[in-house]
Symmetry: C2
Subunit: 219 residues, 2 copies
């Protein structure tokens, strides 16, 4: 499903090159639930950005569902990112001028070209425990954990086959965090592939496999 | 040191009023180390913003070091916020166009009116485990946890008497999080008052007292 072959990601900075990923080789099968752990700055977000096709390797190859991302035409890359992959960002990346509801609806509009009439945005927001007036708040009118949950609902909007989660419970109390993990476990049970970065051993234990990264290298 | 008397903070929204704080009465003594816990959306950040004088009560009174914040002239309010209080924000609020170094130096420049020549910014960044080339990266060239640590270093720049921390280890692995808690414990040992919001029982256990908030009311 997801394969990295000796992937390097190097940032060229004035003070010297930063090897965010320094030769990562990794295989993730369809329907796997993988947790990625490692120290702050070790390369977890960089790895997830590669898998999510938001960034390309400096060297090495990345295959998503058997296709080498270097050889994908732009249109196919866009479809992959919009339909096959759902991304929950470490810093949420919600659109500031849209409400929670509109933020979740947005990927649906991108896909179908029209506003949503299925009720899916409200349903997803209810699933992550956000309902009532809050769905019409903009991000800056929501708490940190409420924003995180909007980001989670948005990632699920187009029912992606692959879910990439960058510290999805980092701003949540343990009870709300558990509710989110129940959702992820359920989605994995439906056959979705999940790659989740987390700093919590407790959260990582929901995965079938834990990968540790250190200084851009898988341990 | 910090006293709230029946503080309410009400947001008037189209869908109805949101009682972010619904009558909070609380006393925190000089040199106390208090943890604030509660579900996502329960009012923790709102409470911290009140104590940090970034926001005012809708009703009720707030006293910082014996002074009622309603009666403070603007200049004294500014001094309090700049010199007496250090704030580590849940979403970091780093200045995007400045480097990590410049972000930490900024409060020093605000205070003295001149660029820093004491070496304090570099020293604080080293204290939180950020050194070498990284201190010249801008926030978007840093990992989530590195940004969080820059926010911590910045909060300490003017050696504040009161430190307000909104989930200071939320993006950190346990080892780095422990290093931050060692710093906070040390500062508390020097007599600083610390009010820390956290979702982690482990992190909360470093405090002398745990306050739980639910739906804007202290339990
Ligand atoms: N500007 C605003 N306008 C309207 N409602 C707001 C605004 N800011 C916060 N709220 C609401 O006030 C309540 C408390 O928010 P607060 O940010 O204090 O929660 P919190 O306890 O810090 O949550 P978290 O653990 O998720 O960070 C929430 O229901 C939130 O939606
Ligand atoms: N745009 C960039 N330019 C230069 N260096 C970068 C850039 N983005 C990330 N880095 C560096 O690459 C390394 C890996 O960053 P990454 O964000 O992947 O870490 P992480 O494991 O997600 O950390 P955290 O747990 O703190 O979120 C870090 O040293 C970081 O400073
Ligand atoms: Mg990261
Ligand atoms: Mg908060």
């Amino acid at each position: 499903c997801i394969r990295l072959e000796d992937v390097k990601r190097i940032y060229q900075m004035e003070a010297g090159d930063v090897y965010a990923l320094n030769g990562v080789t990794l295989d993730i099968g369809v329907g796997d639930f993988v947790a990625i752990m490692g120290a702050s700055g070790s390369g977890k977000t960089t790895l997830l950005n590669q898998i999510g096709c938001l960034d390309q390797p400096t060297s090495g190859n990345l295959f998503i569902e058997g296709k080498n991302t270097r050889e994908l035409p732009d249109s196919e890359m866009t479809d992959l990112r919009r339909d096959a992959i759902g991304f929950i960002f470490q810093k949420f990346n919600l659109i500031p001028l849209l409400t929670a509801f509109e933020n979740v609806e947005y990927p649906l509009i991108l896909k179908t070209g029209a506003r949503d009439s299925t009720g899916r945005p409200a349903e997803l927001l209810r699933l992550v425990g956000l309902d009532g007036g809050h769905i019409h708040h903009t991000p800056n009118q929501l708490s940190g954990g409420q924003q995180q949950r909007v980001a989670i609902a948005r990632a699920l909007a187009n029912d992606p086959r692959i879910l990439l989660c960058d510290e999805p419970t980092g701003n949540l109390d343990s009870k709300t965090g558990q509710q989110i993990m129940d959702i992820l476990t359920d989605l994995n049970g439906q056959g979705k592939t999940i790659v989740m970065v987390t700093h919590s051993d407790e959260i990582a234990s929901f995965a079938d496999r834990i990968i540790t990264i250190r200084d851009g290298v898988i341990q």
